[in-house]
């Protein structure tokens, strides 16, 4: 624990919070350009957030505390992983809390809170969205835990900084079958967990297909702004975890202050690259039928299980 680590932790919190809407804007812009549209610009999500934050908060009649608390809880569960995970520095003073299982549990807690809020409104769409989200979550959770197990079994610890440091010291680890399989499995569940194509379409309000959008239909004003912001942050956190667990190069490890700006730049570049790649891939993809989603997630579960199995028998 040192002052550089603390500075790094603050820096990455600001970076994720401020950069998440820009990432969402970048992904929309990439998609728009590839579809031949001009696009609204990378800063458009920030303009939307500013507009929404100025509006008057309104809650539907009959909705209870679950509905009112959800945006704050969702934001909190996105902020804590953004502060503790090793994005910019591995020497963060909050390192003790950066347990991979705890981070996954926090993100799942946010999803569950949002589903409860959707049920609380009592509308048909809210209930439908919540039920679908829980179906996807129930299939995603075992996969994440198995992939985590595959990553942590070689390091002997589920601490994120320990895993990242071990990969830094032994780069060949990344091309081992266990690591590659875990990377693919985690990529699939990241897509499912953040509600991107082919599991969910983030830009539609078509009642037959929407999952995430159905849950937040009743929100407006500052509450909606918080939820949109937190969703963008969750995407940033998951992409950042994916980037740093499998390609941690550039992260600040020591006590020198000069490594921090470089680490910030490299991390922003990695996440922007992953996000742009994801958006570009989405252009060529159609949404999967809801009944085919379990097949995709069963496949990623199998990949995660194979990752664990190979890390044992090909050790």
């Amino acid at each position: 624990m040192n002052s550089t680590g603390a500075a790094g932790a603050v820096l990455q919190l600001v970076l994720v919070a401020g950069g998440a809407p820009l990432l969402a804007g970048l992904m929309r812009q990439v998609r728009a350009r590839m579809e031949g549209r001009a696009g609204a610009g990378v800063a458009q999500p920030w303009r939307d957030l500013r507009k929404l934050l100025r509006k008057e908060p309104i809650t539907p009649r009959g909705s209870g505390p679950a509905f009112r608390a959800a945006p704050t809880v969702l934001m909190a569960t996105a902020l804590v992983p953004a502060a503790v995970a090793p994005f910019v520095t591995t020497a963060s003073p909050l390192d003790g809390a950066a347990d991979l299982i705890a981070v996954v549990a926090l993100l799942a807690l946010g999803t569950v809170t949002l589903a409860l809020a959707a049920l609380d409104t009592g509308t048909a769409f809210g209930g439908m969205g919540a039920s679908r989200e829980m179906t996807v979550l129930a299939l995603v959770e075992p996969t994440i835990l198995l992939a985590v197990f595959a990553l942590s079994v070689r390091v002997g610890s589920t601490n994120l900084a320990a895993i990242v440091t071990a990969t830094l010291h032994d780069p060949l680890r990344v091309v081992s079958p266990a690591s590659l399989l875990a990377a693919v499995a985690l990529a699939v569940v990241t897509i499912a967990e953040t509600g991107r194509l082919p599991v969910d379409n983030p830009s539609t309000h078509l009642e037959l297909t929407m999952i995430h959008e159905a849950m937040v239909l009743e929100y407006s004003g500052p509450d909606l702004a918080l939820i949109e912001w937190a969703s963008a942050m969750r995407l940033t956190v998951l992409l950042g975890l994916l980037a740093n667990l499998f390609a941690p190069w550039g992260i600040a490890t020591g006590a020198s202050l000069t490594a921090l700006p470089l680490a910030v730049g490299v991390f922003a570049g990695k996440v922007a690259l992953l996000g742009a790649g994801l958006a570009a891939a989405e252009v060529f993809m159609a949404k999967l039928r809801l009944f085919r989603v379990p097949e995709l997630l069963a496949g990623s579960f199998l990949l995660a299980l194979l990752a664990v199995a190979t890390s044992f028998f090909l050790a």
């Binding site: 060949l172 079958p177 590659l180 399989l181 097949e295 194979l306």
Partner: protein, 219 residues
Amino acid sequence: MSDTAYVQLLDLAAGVFLLAAVLMLWRRELASIIRLFAAQGAALAALVAILGVHQQHPELLGVAAGVLALRAGLLPYLMRRALAASGEARETQPLVNVAASLLTAATLTLLAYAVSRPLVALAPSPATQAIPVGITVVLIGLFVLATRRRALSQVVGLLLVDNGITAVAFLATAGVPLTVELGVSLDVLLAVLVLLVLTARMRIAFGATDLDELRELHD
């Protein structure tokens, strides 16, 4: 070749070998199943070549070239021709649906690991530790044989079993003699040719190669 590089490459080849088998369960298009089979054949050839280089066994390199030509070249070519003639592009309605068969593959992996532990314990080395991969592929092949209905999928299942057996043979021994491997390869080639002729006859007689239609007797 240094020891770490050898272990890494061997593990990578074994991983691709296993992954191709699993993806064959996942995909429905017969054309992409055949592509995956070719990739698996290439991974098997790479596995044999890596073993050959490590054991400094030039004969194994010749066997690897033979495996590559047969399993990544000739057999996929023959199946592609049969596929083009049959006009059936997809494996429709396997007896066990795709999600369940993926989970079954997960169970089979664990089963293979459990049953091969005494084998590995006899002489632990990087090569023998990959034996569970070969046994998993054998079990997945048997599963494909039992649950898929198109004749071409059944041929793929049979070849998966054979690929698995070949992989175990190379991983468990210090090199299979060229004569034995040649005999096995010719055997497989002949079996596939016979099965493909049978498939063509079935299609002429029944108009489809769905094996479930063969239950009733016809005049």
